[in-house]
């Protein structure tokens, strides 16, 4: 249906738009709101909205509803789902060691659909991290971080690290036995990393191995305020980069311009998101995260390792504990993560030799990830 067939609606809505456009900078607001991956072309915020949109639409862009670019959108949508469900959970959650588990029990048992919100929050986080990792792997393989897109990688990598911390701080909140000891393991890992570790443990109250009232409330503040803001900032920075330099290129893709093309991209996106919601809902209903017994700080729960994405780091530290002092092993981790974030500036792989080196490094990192994850799972 083309817009020409509906002159009435067109004029009415455009009249309203124009009325607002004369009074506030709608373009800027639209630009900000769509800065989370729903509109890819750069907008001239000095122009009125309709003019700016028409101009933006005339610039050809690749489809953002196609694989693997859709992963970026999934990440953003999952992040919003986390924010929404998290806000709902915060209505009932009480962040003290004595009340935390009971309040989660109330959410799961007494609040209407509380269990669903809790499970969506949990599974959304797992999917978010999985997609972030997958996205970075694909980014690496496609070498999409070549200039001028180095910052895509940097922001993406920092977002992944922020999401690790979001998940970690969130895991501690229920104060169930599994959550507690899993968090303790993760804090032990963090504590072995120089500078960062001591800073984090200082921030969390210094104890590190006993999660008391202050530690829990600090976890809570990190989880509901500091880290989400950081994550939103990273996503914003990432997309402002996309707007400036454009999506990374996919070989053989024909870029198209025009309103119909934009609408087509959005339809693709909507279909993909519908499926994503379906999968998330299925995980939440059919594989509920169990509500476990209350934590006892004085009884170590056997067989509890750190969360799945930290198993490799845990495995590495356990493996290195025989050979290296803990701070040295932690130092290696620190250097690794710095190099990981700064990778686009290290990779000089435009020559054939450089490309081979990048591949070897990528495969080695993935191999070590898998091996140490398996080792970590066995040790735990």
């Amino acid at each position: 249906m083309s817009d020409l067939e509906r002159p009435d609606r067109e004029t009415r809505s455009s009249r309203a738009l124009d009325w607002f456009s004369r009074r506030i900078n709608l373009t800027e607001i639209f630009s900000l709101l769509t800065s989370y991956g729903f509109y890819y072309a750069e907008l001239d915020t000095r122009k009125p909205l309709r003019e700016a949109l028409a101009e933006a639409e005339s610039r050809p862009v690749g489809s953002y509803g196609r694989w693997p670019r859709v992963l970026g959108l999934f990440v953003v949508v999952l992040l919003w789902i986390e924010l929404l469900t998290g806000a709902l959970l915060a209505l009932y959650y009480l962040p003290t060691p004595d009340t935390a588990r009971a309040s989660l029990g109330t959410i799961m048992r007494d609040v209407d659909f509380g269990w669903l919100v809790h499970q969506l929050h949990f599974w959304g986080a797992q999917m978010l991290i999985a997609f972030l990792i997958l996205r970075l792997v694909i980014f690496f393989v496609r070498r999409a971080y070549r200039p001028p897109r180095e910052l895509f990688w940097v922001f993406g990598a920092i977002l992944l690290l922020v999401c690790f911390h979001l998940d970690l701080s969130g895991r501690a909140l229920p104060m169930t036995d599994h959550a507690y000891w899993s968090t303790v393991r993760a804090l032990e890992i963090a504590g072995s990393v120089p500078i960062y570790g001591s800073l984090l443990l200082f921030l969390l109250g210094g104890a590190g191995t006993v999660i008391g009232e202050l530690t829990l409330i600090r976890f809570y503040i990190l989880h509901v305020a500091v880290l989400p803001l950081l994550a939103i900032l990273m996503v914003y920075l990432h997309f402002s980069g996309v707007r400036r330099v454009g999506l990374s290129e996919i070989r053989g893709e024909r870029k198209v311009a025009g309103r119909a093309a934009v609408r087509g991209h959005l339809y693709n996106l909507a279909i993909a998101l519908a499926v994503l919601f379906g999968i998330l809902g299925t995980l939440a209903v059919l594989f509920p995260h169990p509500f476990r017994a209350a934590a006892d700080p004085y009884v170590t729960l056997p067989g509890v390792g750190p969360p799945w994405y930290l198993l490799s780091v845990f495995g590495f530290l356990e493996w290195a504990s025989g050979a290296l002092p803990r701070q040295v092993a932690g130092g290696i981790l620190f250097v690794f993560f710095v190099l990981f974030v700064a990778w686009p500036f290290i990779d000089r792989g435009d020559s054939k030799r450089g490309r081979v080196t990048a591949w070897v490094i990528g495969v080695l990192v993935l191999l070590f990830w898998v091996i140490f994850s398996l080792y970590g799972a066995r040790v735990a």
């Binding site: 087509g264 919601f277 209903v285 509920p288």
Partner: protein, 399 residues
């Protein structure tokens, strides 16, 4: 030279003598018998002020061997003299009263198999020191004491596991090993202080094997309800008439077994034929208990599942616990070898399990959630189809 310097040697000698006089309580026996002295001082006798001469007599203050060993001195190297010499204090009411120790132990000992053999001149039988130690006698409460319940089996085993020695008396050298493998031995080894040791059944100083007709009384001292159930049942009279040991016929003597309900049939088959009424009865009893246990197990599984979903389960847990108590009760009442008393409690246990299951099932019904999920998927697919169509239309319209 000062006065002190001149008489230094003299001062030392005087000081030494003064110290000796001050320490007159400490006997000099240890000068020649240091090992015995060390052992003695680690024991309870030294702690309570019992000195060497209290048993051995002689002159404890003398440093001269002959003078120390004169008078009524006795080496006590004759084992036969030991019980009597211990009894000099331990049968003395005045001496024992502060410790609240019984004074009849020597008399009891003389009635035991050990005491009778020693009295008859057979010095291979145990005297006091064989079990309690010689110089280093410790309180029975002391975990290092050979008579502490956890050490007792090995203490008795020093003689009763000696095959050569036991063959002379026509006794089995296996009983200590058997005991250790049995439920009593394992329970004691596992830290259960209430579990019986050798003396719980055989007596301490008056140790003697219980007579055939007394076995149920000995076992019944602890297993009171079981014994009452047994006496109520048909086995009691019948087994007594047949002259077979009552408890031990099924549960064995030293290697006491507590068999699972499924083993009941096998044990019964030792006396009753497979087609007999008794065999059917055992089958029935087994089924009753098994059904009750199964019902409770399934309820417990469901409770664990409910717990993972944050349901309130404390009440269900206590009801299952109550059911388990009924099952334990049933295992006691099995000794009546009758269906009614057993069925009475197993039915209650089974009912409790079923009740918990029914109530939890109603609370944990996931059907609404699954129906919701199916509906959700229906809308997801519907949305996708609509979107695909819209996209096609939009593409068709623009081209």
């Amino acid at each position: 030279m000062t006065l002190v310097h001149r008489f230094f040697g003299l001062i030392v000698v005087v000081a030494f003598l003064a110290a000796s006089v001050a320490a007159a309580d400490v006997e000099a026996c240890g000068l020649c018998h240091p090992e015995q002295r060390v052992e003695h001082e680690a024991g309870i006798h030294a702690a309570e002020g019992v000195a060497c001469t209290d048993c051995h007599r002689g002159d404890g203050q003398s440093r001269d061997t002959d003078r120390a060993h004169r008078g009524q001195f006795r080496a006590l190297d004759d084992r036969g003299m030991v019980p009597q010499s211990c009894s000099e204090c331990h049968s003395n009411l005045e001496l024992m009263r502060p410790y609240n120790l019984p004074v009849d132990q020597y008399a009891v000992y003389t009635t035991s198999q050990h005491g009778r053999r020693v009295a008859a001149g057979d010095l291979r039988a145990a005297v006091c020191t064989d079990c309690h130690g010689v110089h280093q006698i410790r309180d029975t409460e002391d975990p290092r004491s050979p008579t502490h319940p956890r050490n007792l089996a090995s203490t008795c085993g020093e003689c009763h596991s000696d095959a050569d020695l036991m063959s002379d008396f026509d006794l089995s050298p296996e009983i200590v090993a058997e005991y250790s493998r049995g439920v009593h031995g394992l329970a004691l080894e596992g830290g259960n202080q209430a579990a019986p040791d050798c003396t719980s059944c055989h007596g301490t100083h008056g140790s003697a094997p219980p007579g055939l007709s007394d076995v149920d009384k000995v076992c019944g001292a602890c297993h009171q309800r079981t014994r009452r159930a047994f006496i109520e049942g048909r086995h009691h009279e019948a087994m007594r008439a047949a002259g077979v040991p009552e408890c031990a016929s099924c549960h064995d003597q030293h290697e006491v077994i507590s068999f699972e309900p499924e083993a009941v049939g096998v044990v019964c088959a030792e006396c009753h034929s497979e087609e007999s009424e008794a065999a059917q009865l055992s089958e029935k009893l087994y089924t009753l208990i098994e059904k009750a246990e199964e019902s409770l197990d399934r309820a417990a599984e469901l409770v664990a599942e409910g717990e993972r979903r944050a349901l309130e389960v404390e009440d269900y847990k206590s009801r299952i616990e109550e059911g388990r108590t009924y099952v334990t009760e049933a295992l006691t009442l099995v000794h009546t070898v009758a269906v009614e008393p057993v069925a009475d409690v197993t039915n209650r246990a089974q009912a409790l399990g079923e009740e918990v299951r029914h109530e939890l099932y109603a609370k944990m019904d996931t059907t609404p959630a699954r129906v919701g999920l199916a509906l959700f998927w229906f809308y997801v697919v519907l949305t996708a189809i609509v979107l695909v169509n819209l996209k096609k239309q939009s593409a068709g319209g623009s081209s």
